[in-house]
Symmetry: C2
Subunit: 429 residues, 2 copies
């Protein structure tokens, strides 16, 4: 499609159609939705060659436009990633359908029975960057949770997204569901995003998936509620009552298993009573793996004693403590108490994921209750903060907001609960 | 207090103090919070004379300023309403404490145990109009749910609110909790509301309690999430399979038990196959009670045949259907089917509360699932949409939004759930 003349009218039309489709998808039964997902997966598998061809054109254009290697990597589809896309659709089909579940039914003194019913949110807008697999993933999760979706991917992946959308639409039609249940915004005009962010009469929730720049923009422009996280400044606190080996294993894993993820540790806090035991071996591990250590005064003394004049050991500045490095860099702080650790996390953390290593159940309990993050852990690596690891089956994103959904958001986070009342003619007196 | 020179600095100071107090209140145990609530109730009872005197000054000023009788009525405290205020504090103390409840704990194949813990939202801003009892009610609910509160009542009730706040602060101090846990914005400067609505670094959620003008303003100005409902355009649909007597009883109650409440019926939808049976007796009831009926063509014919030339019977205009009258006025529509009824509700309703009267379980189920309102009812009066009637114990408001809380919002709606992970040294591989 060519860019429409009036982007506002174009987006309004998409919004209106999404709203109409949402009512039909909301009432679709589980078998129908699963049939659509299976047909989508079959179409993706059958059309692998076409998907690869469309993607190759996107990749060539991105290269020609001088996009960097990381960008091209995120954009590129392979046989393996297309297989994974199809498998993902099948996996969502296998998940339990939250829609229509009734819980907490209680009879009241008046004789009415009051319960909660899980229902779709309505229309979900997904704004993402270059990864074409988001098109299938997000469509599947939104459909299974009974919502209509408006997908706005990066303009560099438009050919790939169109090809994936063809498979999605084929699946919807095969199950007798409206194609408008999943719409791809098919214009490179960036004003389309602005329109989407303002269509609160048509869009119930926005899920921005991408880097900080994208999420900041969406936050600044939108008044529609969002499922988003901006930063993952995750902490591991090694308590004085920690098992040292366990502490070392968890801190190592939380930092080095993958550097670029939002649930990787960015700051290590160590109780002063255990610092001289755990910091030297940890420093050796981190330095051997090429992790730069930015240390406060107390930890610097200990680490320097171990590492000598390694150029990877530096004094931390105040700014380091709130920084999400997403890289082999770690800030290290020695604290005088559990309270000081929690104070540090409250001041510099991003309410994403924080962990304590301790054998003291009371300290663990205090940390769990008082650290105000979407995931709080005892004796486990922060890297577990993930929808699959938590058993949600899949995730549309991770929320560090406090309302509605916190932490990894799966199907349930794409629904809400309304009250249902069952009476036999009761009136209020 | 006199109006501060710089309202922005004044509000920022309140925000900072609320944020600091929120961490202390979040970790307070149930017994401490209940002790504070009991001490507040005792102070209110002891200070009844002082509360009445402060309120009398507010009332005199409001009268002198020419406020109307309804306004003065909402503003006025009496011995009875002060007793009710104290009783309300005791009732909140008696409610179960949601904070810290852990649920849905499941062991994952990796060995970690993943659950959800209910935690406070943080800082709650309450913006209300002239009712001084909101000061105590809202403070109690927010405290019990572990949140700090910033209260901004109408400037006409400032003396009353100060007197109530004195009792609240006395209760907090008696339990060793910080007085900043409940702060009253003590300036008549209306700019304070604007500042409060923009302090998203300090305020986690805004609850506007008042008329449409207030809520519209808050919606227009704030980017902080809100618990609010704008309109209560509630429907009762009498299905062709309804028991006529039950239908008449419910429709009568939903409209006439109280006219001015958000859960009162504003539009009656009647299936054409039962219209000639239920509309004539209903018209007689409504007209006897002085309810003006604004009818579509089909219902007008039936009602006119019953009521003759009553001036209370009129032809409805398109505008009537989306109108929240909050008055003895009702729009009446004959529909051809359940689908037509749900279509009407989707088009004109406000997603507040809608009810079906039917003996057909399949139609009831379709209505429950497909009507996208915060409360959906079968064979019961819409007037039941209320936190007390639902067994929540008390309500901070009713939400017609879709995220987080829908319908009456009690203690649980002032909390959210974070993920908690219990490990024994697990790392991700």
């Amino acid at each position: 499609m060519n860019a429409p003349v009036d982007i506002k009218l174009y987006m309004e039309d998409i919004g209106r159609r999404a709203r109409a489709a949402a009512r039909l998808v909301a009432r679709a039964d589980t078998a129908t939705k699963n049939r659509a997902l299976a047909a989508m997966a079959a179409a993706v598998r059958r059309d692998t060659a076409a998907l690869l061809a469309a993607n190759a054109a996107d990749v060539a254009a991105a290269r020609a436009a001088g996009k960097d290697a990381a960008f091209v990597d995120r954009l590129t589809l392979t046989q393996t990633s297309i297989d994974a896309m199809a498998r993902g659709l099948d996996q969502v089909a296998a998940l339990a359908d939250p829609v229509g579940q009734v819980s907490e039914v209680r009879e009241r003194p008046t004789g009415i029975k009051v319960g909660r019913m899980r229902v779709p949110l309505g229309v979900i807008g997904i704004i993402y960057e270059s990864r074409p697999n988001v098109t299938a993933d997000a469509a599947a999760l939104c459909l299974k949770s009974g919502n209509a979706t408006i997908l706005r991917g990066g303009s560099e992946s438009i050919r790939s997204n169109r090809a994936v959308a063809d498979c999605v639409h084929e699946g919807l039609r095969a199950a007798g569901l409206p194609a408008d249940a999943v719409q791809v915004v098919d214009t490179p005009d960036r004003a389309a995003v602005g329109e989407l962010l303002r269509m609160n009469q048509y869009v119930d929730i926005i899920v921005p998936r991408g880097g900080k720049g994208l999420i900041s923009r969406v936050m600044a422009e939108s008044r529609i509620p969002m499922i988003k996280h901006l930063d993952g400044v995750c902490h591991v606190y090694i308590d004085e009552r920690a098992d040292p080996e366990r502490a070392i294993r968890i801190a190592d894993n939380a930092k080095t298993q993958r550097y670029g993820t939002c649930n990787a540790m960015e700051a290590l806090l160590v109780h002063e009573a255990i610092a001289s035991r755990v910091l030297p071996p940890l420093a050796r591990i981190f330095l051997d793996k090429g992790v730069e250590l930015r240390c406060d005064a107390a930890s610097l003394a200990i680490v320097r004693a171990q590492a000598g004049n390694s150029p990877l050991v530096k004094a931390a500045t105040e700014q380091d403590f709130g920084t999400e490095y997403l890289a082999p860099i770690l800030s290290v702080v020695v604290v005088a108490s559990l309270d000081a650790a929690m104070e540090h996390i409250a001041k510099y953390g991003s309410q994403h994921t924080d962990a304590i290593v301790t054998d003291d159940p009371e300290r663990a309990q205090r940390f769990l209750r008082e650290v105000d993050s979407s995931s709080v852990m005892v004796n486990a690596s922060t890297r577990f903060a993930d929808g699959f690891e938590y058993g949600l089956g899949a995730e549309i994103g991770i929320s560090t907001d406090k309302l509605h959904a916190r932490g990894p958001v799966g199907l349930e986070g794409l629904t809400s609960q309304k009250f249902v009342v069952f009476g036999t003619g009761q009136i209020r007196t």
